[in-house]
């Protein structure tokens, strides 16, 4: 610690510097917000069904077992690319049926396997959830995750 630095000088550097860094941070975040609307996500496909699917996702707090774009709990598999994992990019009908069938089959009572609860979603809720997964799969994440396995 240099003896030349006084407490008041340190304080002024703290306030001035923090303000500048905050302004840069806020500016870049706002730019990113706009970039997400215009470039990296499909804003025009963000319809009622996808929004309803996000609500299903939240109502059952899926994020407290699964990750989505790498964020959440690490108990269950990554779901931002579950649409891709089920082959949705090539065969959307089969992927939709596959994901819905998986949800309906829970809990799989295989001994020693982690249990996913049965959430008793109706057909419409299941479809919305799949619409949400399909939409999320379209986000440009700089090729994350590295593999289809999530």
């Amino acid at each position: 610690m240099s003896e030349g630095l006084t407490r008041n000088a340190a304080r002024n550097i703290f306030y001035g510097g923090s303000t500048i860094f905050f302004l840069i941070f806020a500016g870049l975040t706002i730019h990113t917000h706009i970039y997400m609307s215009t470039t990296s996500t499909n804003s025009e496909e963000l319809d009622e069904a996808v929004i309803a699917g996000k609500e299903v996702w939240e109502e059952h707090s899926c994020i407290n077992c699964h990750t989505i774009m790498g964020e959440g709990a690490y108990f269950g598999p990554e779901l931002s690319n579950v649409w891709h994992r089920y082959g949705g990019r090539e065969n959307p009908e089969a992927a939709r049926a596959g994901i819905k069938g998986w949800m309906k089959a829970q809990p799989i009572e295989a001994p020693g396997r982690r249990q996913m609860p049965q959430f008793n979603l109706n057909e419409q809720e299941l479809d919305h959830l799949v619409d949400f997964f399909k939409w999320v799969d379209g986000i440009d994440t700089h090729d994350w995750p590295p593999h289809k396995s999530g």
């Binding site: 407490r7 840069i24 249990q115 999320v136 986000i139 994350w144 396995s149």
Partner: protein, 451 residues
């Protein structure tokens, strides 16, 4: 303790520690599920345990910060607290809202944003309580002496409340939802909460080492400056893979790497003041927690954070057990240990007795820290194996998890050790104070607790 109203801190500390104990219970249950997947799978599914575990952590840490503030501000401001009644009401609202959320979770009443699962009415109650707290303490400081410790502490708390407002904003676009979600989560724990941490550490060092306030406060400003200079743009390390522009990768790499510096500065600061100090403070346990907090947060938040912060590493490790390892030791070292430091320091003064049960308290320190470190190591090894198998070789998630059983068993074991440490800490702090006097004094009817 110079001011009667500092006693307001006592119920805050007690509630915080009770919730801490409960948090550990939910943590142990969730760790058990990793080892025995059928455990409570019908009665309490894993997601309920986990949100209870994380929400209890946030609520108890905040209540602990409130208690610490009520304890130290009157002494810094050299005046009594503005309104003790308001403080008790504020605690009742905060703890009541937290309890309502926790009970609701058990019946499936919750939101679905990570850490922000509280229903809206709970969020509003927490906000009201937080604002009452800020008003009360700001009034206290305004009528008394203004020190750098109290200014930085209040600034950290005010900013925490301001950034909390983003909890009420939820865009429909998942990418934007996550973008702003980090304005609470990252800006709290890697930004403004560090202001709270640094100022409480500064207070403890002023009191326990006897080093001149001018020097400690200069360090304080340098440290909180480093925190925000690195931490704000350091948010970039969460913006690598969220549908964000590519410029966050260099920004995140550079600034989040620098987030290690303030943590290292806090270690230097704490030990430098400790050696420089002339005072032999009798509360050895509080000094141990203070130094320990600086060290463990440096490793947990600093080193373990740096380990996976660079974008080309994070590309593979993001969202694996590596993150879990870092999260556990960072929160424990920086914020849980900070609370235990101030509680250990303040409780003898609140109870108006000499520092007591110090040996047991120090045992609890080593048992808890040992348990947490071991847990972090096991999760780190699990994360390395997971990263390699799943992210490099591309194997299926469940197949890979099946290979990690041994680590999860050791994590449950280390969690049990942590729980033992917590029990010892609670007994040491809130239990009866053992007399620590020479035998001949006891023999002549001396009373150790009346000093």
């Amino acid at each position: 303790m110079k001011y009667e109203t500092q006693k307001v801190a006592l119920p805050f500390f007690a509630v915080a520690m009770a919730l801490f104990a409960l948090q550990i219970c939910f943590g142990l249950m969730a760790a058990t599920v990793y080892v025995m997947p059928e455990f409570l799978s019908e009665a309490m599914p894993f997601h309920i345990m986990r949100m209870s575990h994380t929400n209890l952590l946030l609520v108890w840490l905040l209540i602990g910060f409130f208690g610490a503030t009520y304890y130290l501000l009157p002494e810094e401001a050299e005046t009594d607290l503005h309104s003790p009644t308001m403080a008790y009401i504020q605690l009742a609202i905060f703890a009541g809202a937290g309890a309502a959320a926790l009970i609701g979770y058990q019946f499936g009443i919750h939101g679905g944003r990570h850490y922000l699962e509280q229903p809206v009415y709970v969020k509003i109650l927490l906000t009201i309580s937080f604002l009452m707290f800020l008003y009360n303490n700001t009034r206290t400081v305004m009528k008394g002496r203004r020190t750098s410790v109290s200014i930085v502490l209040l600034l950290g708390l005010w900013l925490a409340a301001i950034f909390w407002m983003f909890a009420f904003y939820e865009p429909d676009n998942l990418a934007q939802d996550k973008l702003w979600w980090w304005w609470i989560v990252h800006v709290w724990v890697e930004g403004v909460w560090e202001l709270i941490m640094a100022s409480i550490l500064a207070y403890l060092l002023i009191k326990m080492t006897g080093v001149d306030r001018e020097i400690i406060e200069k360090w304080l400003y340098v440290i909180v400056g480093l925190v925000l200079f690195s931490g704000l743009l350091g948010t970039g390390h969460h913006y690598y893979w969220l549908g964000t522009p590519g410029y966050w990768q260099p920004i995140g790499n550079i600034f989040s790497s620098m987030e290690v510096i303030p943590f290292f500065a806090m270690v230097m600061f704490a030990f430098y003041m400790f050696w420089k100090g002339s005072r032999e403070h009798p509360n050895k346990a509080a000094m141990l927690w203070t130094l320990g907090c600086a060290v463990v947060s440096f490793f947990g938040a600093g080193v373990w954070g740096f380990m996976h912060t660079l974008s080309w590493i994070n590309y593979y490790t993001h969202g694996t057990q590596i993150t879990a390892a870092h999260g556990h030791l960072a929160f424990f070292g920086a914020y849980a240990m900070l609370n235990m430091a101030i509680i250990t320091y303040a409780m003898p003064q609140i109870r108006r007795i000499q520092p007591y049960n110090q040996i047991m308290n120090m045992w609890s320190f080593w048992i808890m820290v040992g348990g947490m470190c071991f847990m972090t190591f096991t999760l780190t090894f699990a994360g390395v194996v997971q990263t390699h198998m799943q992210r490099v070789l591309g194997e299926d998630f469940m197949t890979v998890q099946g290979q990690l059983d041994l680590f999860f068993i050791m994590r449950l074991g280390s969690g049990s050790v942590v729980a033992l440490g917590v029990i010892l800490f609670l007994i040491a702090v809130f239990g009866p104070a053992r007399e620590q006097l020479p035998a001949h004094v006891k023999g002549s009817g001396g009373n150790g607790s009346s000093q």
